[in-house]
Amino acid sequence: MTPTYMYAITRHLTKRQVDSIRGVAGSIVRVLDGDGMSCLVSTVQLEEFGEDALRRNLEDLSWLERTAREHDDVVRAGARLTATVPLRLATLCTDDRSAQQHLEEFGDAARQALAKIDGHDEWGVKVFADSQLSVFDGSEPVAVTGTSYLQQRRQHLQRREYSTSQALREAEEIFESLANLATDARRHRPHDRRLTGDERPMVLNAAYLVERRRTAAFRSAVDVLANSASGVTAVLTGPWPAYSFTPEPEI
């Protein structure tokens, strides 16, 4: 058995259009056709992508990073050619026949998703609560008596909390106003500080599906909002393939 790795479902593509695309682990990307759509796939080895191997490899950060970037490269290559619905990392079928079956089962959802994301890009907006926090962090109480120390300490923590909830409110406003400029929007879980390595807490990690002709308007809106909102910093990422707007297949 040689598993078939599925990268994305696209509008119809020819064999020729994809013949220079390389997939995960150096594999060669092919198209499977079904129902007027194509699926970008490649054949991978059981030794690397079988269930046991995958379980092990997904916990190996260098393997995960390499595979994630190779997967992303294929999806981006598809998205440059035509409307592309990305599939999750390590979407595997036992063989091409099984992949084809899944493509057919997923057909209606995929067709709707293709229509929705056609002419769109995904943009990421991460919002961090600003440095007021670290200012307070730096001004530790200096009182000498126990009671006034605790009093100051409490005020210090209250200010911190206030500032975080204020930042969360700002982030929510940013989320909503940018959503008005997008076809769709969703939130990812904000990254933990241990992941960002940034002492400022992330208060929003959003993804927007933006029509390409509205890209400039969207970007300048991020710019304006980030400036008008006090106490937060916005970071824009993208353009991304429409990863965050892929319908979940029913398993």
């Binding site: 997904l58 995960l64 992941l195 398993i251």
Partner: protein, 59 residues
């Protein structure tokens, strides 16, 4: 371009965590298990705790 929006982010290398947010579909969490589908075959559970520790070290 302003100081508060890092518009350079779209030309510099994509951060792994941002990519995994999207490729894993559930967001990267600090604790808990992640289920990845092996379409029609099986389910693989990944212990994300170990993964996150490594992401941190390499950041």
């Amino acid at each position: 371009m302003t100081a508060s929006v890092d518009v350079r982010a779209n030309v510099t290398e994509t951060s792994l965590v941002d990519l995994l947010d999207r490729l894993l579909g559930v967001g990267v969490v600090v604790a808990g298990d992640l289920t990845i589908s092996l379409a029609g075959v099986d389910l693989v559970t990944v212990k994300l705790r170990a993964l996150i520790c490594t992401v941190r070290e390499s950041a």
